[in-house]
């Protein structure tokens, strides 16, 4: 029997080309995935670009204290969780309802055509979406205020009214991603065994009863799993979306500023990587616990769908 080292060398010699093929991706992941880990330590430093990670002074938990003692800590955490939960719940319910309606469509052509248009927003960048929103909500020129004026209602200065923005962002997010979710759910519905429906029809069930007692219950596992997996990412608040739309509009921070945008500003606007890292570390650790926890639940429901 050969020792392990020898057989490893033999494996590399025998399949060298295959290992060569994986090297670019592996080196890349090593650098951008693993080499980033030590940088997390700067959360405990008074980091300075000149002295770098090795020579910056250690200051214990000061950076964390700075964040958690400010009222913004609670605000951005709450907003991140609030927006993500709403995105998941409203997005799932809307896409599911739409998928059920689509499944009832008779005309294949109409179904394909409308699916194409509903999927379209998914391919737009958030910057483009911010322009679309602006064309609707602009105080002076926007369509919404024009409609309000026609109805003899007062125009609203949308970009200065934080109370509306939770709903606006939820609607926007659902609008952009409903097409993608529709495709997934529709595929799941089409995958349901036809014999269930035939049996139901023989028993004289109406279309609504078929939906209520066959489609929805059989879709529940898929819905649960997709929602739980989304729950794992709940600490990460789509920077792309929020920063493209809100930018640095402080008036709207109370309802829509999230951890990601807060970290971005600490890093790039205020220019304090160590403080930004402290918040980022808090986000990563809680995020990891949530991924791990939700995966455990998914594994309990259906091991095939678990991530790990």
């Amino acid at each position: 029997m050969k020792n392990k080292k020898g057989s490893m060398l033999r494996e590399l010699k025998q399949n060298g080309y295959a290992y060569l093929l994986v090297i670019p991706a592996a080196v890349y992941t090593l650098i951008f995935g693993y080499f980033t880990l030590p940088y997390m330590l700067i959360a405990f430093q008074r980091f300075n670009f000149k002295t770098g990670i090795f020579n910056s002074p250690w200051i214990g938990l000061d950076n964390f204290e700075f964040f958690f003692s400010s009222p913004r800590a609670w605000e951005v955490t709450f907003n991140t969780l609030k927006l993500n939960v709403l995105f998941i719940v409203v997005g799932t319910v809307a896409a599911m309802a739409l998928a059920i309606l689509f499944n009832e469509l008779r005309s294949k052509l109409f179904s394909r055509l409308t699916q194409s248009t509903i999927l379209f927003p998914h391919f737009l960048s958030w910057v483009i979406v911010s322009y679309i929103l602006y064309s609707l909500l602009s105080t002076d020129y926007g369509i919404v205020n024009q409609v309000l004026a026609k109805l003899n209602l007062n125009p609203v200065n949308w970009y200065a009214s934080p109370q509306y923005w939770t709903s606006i962002l939820v609607i926007t997010a659902v609008w952009k991603d409903i097409g993608m979710n529709l495709v997934i759910y529709l595929a799941a519905i089409t995958g349901i065994d036809d014999t269930y429906y035939e049996a139901g029809r023989i028993d004289g069930a109406t279309r609504w009863q078929l939906i209520r007692h066959i489609t929805i219950p059989l879709m529940m596992p898929t819905i649960m799993i997709l929602s739980l997996l989304a729950l794992g990412k709940i600490m990460y608040g789509s920077f792309d979306m929020i920063y493209a739309i809100i930018k640095d509009n402080g008036l709207l921070y109370p309802t829509v500023d999230v951890i990601d945008t807060y970290v971005f500003r600490s890093l790039r606007t205020i220019g304090n990587p160590a403080q930004a890292m402290a918040v980022g570390l808090y986000q990563s650790v809680v995020g990891f616990i949530l991924v791990w926890g939700s995966n455990r639940i998914v594994r309990k429901i259906n091991p095939d769908h678990a991530l790990f």
Partner: protein, 292 residues
């Protein structure tokens, strides 16, 4: 009676779905129409789906000498080069992770997978990029997004592991090595999944402005999306375009329509490739979401 009700439902259902699909289209149409509206009309009536006064001023200004061309080139270069490299290294790694005769393939998969679960976040990512000199150059727009999320890698791996391993054995008997098998046998067989990740990467690069906001200050290197982002927050950029030599007939600078016209030109390629995009996107979603 029952049949009538069922028929009524069909009509109502189709109407509702038609309405939803219009909701997804009309806001984009509004942006398009505003881009063709004269500035005076916007000042007077606001944005309109049917412009009171039609005008091409915005496009005239943009298509004169303007930063738009440079940003278009930057975006095209980044998207094409980035996507090619990303697809190549993802496909190659996918083969190794899928080939059953590779002993350490599961260990390797784990190595990639861990980075997917534990996210170190923005700050380390930023510092690594600075360390690598990825700042204010074209590679800063490409390298940081190559395989930032290994999701695509697993998509390729899963697809490739459905190909029977006996194919590799047969090729090996004929004297082929893994390099040859990957490029000449596996890649042609896996065109659907490779097309899908090409699309994912391509859209990702085209729509990316995050790399630019983080790593690029030089205006010559702004990709389209970032130019567009800046255009909305910095009005002087439009004046700059104006002063770069284009004379528009109107005395008023078509500020509002220029913004919208830039948005339209930015999504141009997406609309052009849309039928292809949509087809492979749906395929990819189905490969990715429904495990066998």
């Amino acid at each position: 009676m029952n049949i009538n009700r069922s028929r009524l439902f069909d009509i109502a259902n189709a109407a509702l779905i038609g309405f939803v699909s219009l909701l997804c289209l009309v806001p984009m149409l509004l942006v398009l129409m505003v881009s063709f509206t004269s500035e005076a009309s916007i000042q007077q009536h606001g944005y309109q789906l049917l412009p009171s006064e039609f005008s091409l001023d915005a496009y005239k200004l943009l298509l004169g000498t303007s930063p738009l061309y440079r940003s278009y080139l930057v975006s095209l270069f980044v998207t094409i080069v980035g996507t090619l490299i990303a697809v190549l290294i993802t496909g190659m790694a996918g083969y190794t992770l899928a080939a059953k005769h590779i002993r350490y393939r599961n260990g390797l998969a784990m190595f990639f997978f861990i980075t997917m679960v534990f996210n170190t976040g923005l700050v380390p990512w930023y510092l690594i990029n600075l360390e690598l000199g990825l700042r204010n150059n074209i590679w800063a727009l490409i390298v940081p997004s190559l395989i930032f999320n290994p999701f695509n890698l697993f998509l390729v791996r899963n697809y490739m592991s459905q190909i029977p391993g006996s194919l590799i054995e047969a090729a090996k008997i004929d004297g082929a090595n893994d390099m040859f098998i990957a490029f000449r046998i596996y890649f042609p067989l896996c065109m659907p999944v490779l097309a899908t990740i090409t699309l994912f990467y391509g859209i990702g690069y085209w729509n990316n402005w995050f790399n630019a906001i983080m790593l690029v200050d030089n205006q010559n290197l702004y990709p389209l999306q970032y130019l567009l982002f800046k255009l909305n927050s910095e009005i002087n950029m439009i004046q700059q375009m104006q002063s770069s030599g284009v004379i528009v007939s109107d005395a008023v600078l078509p500020q509002e329509s220029v913004k919208m016209a830039t948005a339209i030109l930015t999504i141009g390629p997406v609309i052009f490739f849309y039928p292809f995009l949509q087809r492979y996107f749906i395929k990819g979603l189905l490969i990715g979401s429904l495990k066998e």
